[in-house]
Symmetry: C2
């Protein structure tokens, strides 16, 4: 496990995964400006919105508008979450560059979150992947609860490997492994990745770790040492944790970038510009960033 | 670098290094209660106070009283910082179980912080170590700025190794390597430890990392992999960073413990009891903990 990549592709999930879990409502114009500032900072992969029923996720009801108003940059992929073929149609109309589907590594989480078994959920996504492929759109797969489940506790690495492999076999170009509740620690992360990379190439794996218990960077270090070269993060640590009130959710992009910069691993993202996006959106949601780097650099004397 | 220890000795520095850097003044009784709660939680090494001139560090002016009022537990070492022989005398009168001296790995930091060169500072500490030894008191050495200096930036690992070796040669039983400004990242940590352990046994090294930029746990993981089995931390992440307003200082004991518990590395410290100490002192200083674990566990629904 000493296969550190020379460069890492950061997937910025703040505008979707982040804002979806913020209590303060954010205007369409603010979302658009955030996406533009993130592209300014050098991000090349930005999760921009979600085409889910507004009944379930009112925060993302304006995703179509956001996609239509952003200043598209050459070389930047603006992605959208698409839970079904209707969502896919809307994402295609909005000209999303790529789409994403999701599934859980935990049976209980799947049942409680989307009311069906893991297997059923993957079957339901099959036509989304198929139709996206037919329209030439790349599909990313998200696997949740890879290092723990709020209902089951421990999750077998084999369950993660199984879902990851099915998603890739279905046609996803990459799977993002989510420590949804942030309970992972380094040895568990290492073991999980060992089992998953037995059946899935490490080049097709992204690490999507939450920082609820402050463990994300240590776990990401382990993932990097295993050769993982794609990391999901949210500017300013946007978003909270629905399973722990007041706790942080997504690992902050600034904190990840600080570590990668310090390790000489290139990302193409510039810290100073990223902090502009960070302070912009924190002002909009009216709280301090959960990023320690942002707090230290913004307020340094 | 895969020499993970089976157990780790945690050095709780909250009552001294932590409270010294808090803005809110804390009563003697609160300090006493904090130390007692930390011992209740299973801590066996507690930095309890400092015998420095109250002119320089008014927050620690009552250390003698704190030492006289705590409920001493069998097997717990209550330590004190002693900058000179006068401080040592006071620490001995207070019956501190061990004392500590300090030096910087950065020449500029030494000059700005204690108005003398590194070499001069070590010479000044020689009689403290000698007299402590004569009275049978173990002496710990703190080295600051081991992964960066607020004035010089990068610090050569060789400078750290040099100060660490001198301290051990002088008679310190252990050296605590401090990333005082928290700018360390994993590869730098690894390189520093490689150079230091070339001249100093790893069993005599403690890691004292600050979490100013959120990097402490990733760096501690690297230190553990190098065989380091002593970690300094402060309950709730007490203390701030004098070089970055609003930023966090010492890594939070809860976050370190969460990682170690998850890795199956024993410490003897109990999370539930530790959280009691954490919520007690945070109420006293009137702010939220900078520990992500404390925030998640205390407010979890």
């Amino acid at each position: 496990m000493n296969n550190f990549p020379k460069s890492v592709s950061l997937v910025e999930v703040g505008p979707r995964d982040g804002l979806q879990n913020e209590k303060t409502e954010v205007s369409t114009q603010t979302k658009v400006e955030l996406v533009n500032l993130l592209a300014d900072a050098g991000h090349r992969r930005i999760e921009t919105g979600s085409f889910v029923s507004p009944k379930w996720v009112p925060q993302m009801a304006d995703s179509g508008e956001v996609f239509s108003l952003i200043s598209r940059r050459e070389g930047v992929s603006y992605s959208a979450l698409t839970p079904n073929t209707k969502g896919l149609e809307n994402a295609l109309s909005a000209n999303a560059d790529e789409v994403a589907i999701f599934g859980a590594a935990s049976e209980s989480f799947s049942q409680k979150n989307i009311n069906c078994s893991i297997e059923e959920s993957l079957e339901r996504f099959a036509p989304v992947v198929e139709q996206a492929a037919a329209r030439g759109k790349p599909v990313r797969g998200y696997v949740s609860c890879v290092l723990g489940c709020p209902y089951e506790g421990e999750i077998a690495p084999e369950a993660v490997a199984n879902v990851a492999k099915i998603m890739l076999d279905m046609g996803c170009y990459e799977v993002s492994l989510g420590d949804t509740i942030g309970t992972g620690t380094p040895f568990k992360t290492q073991r999980m990745l060992e089992v998953v990379t037995d059946v899935v190439p490490v080049s097709k794996i992204g690490a999507h770790f939450h920082d609820t218990y402050g463990q994300a960077l240590a776990n990401l270090y382990v993932a990097l040492s295993a050769g993982v070269s794609v990391i999901d993060s949210a500017v300013a640590g946007l978003g909270g944790c629905p399973y722990a009130k007041g706790a942080s959710g997504n690992v902050a992009t600034e904190d990840v970038l600080y570590m990668l910069d310090g390790m000489g691993i290139s990302t193409g993202v510039d810290m100073t510009r990223l902090l502009k996006a960070s302070s912009f959106i924190m002002e909009a949601v009216g709280r301090k960033p959960s990023s320690k780097v942002a707090n230290a650099l913004m307020e340094s004397c």
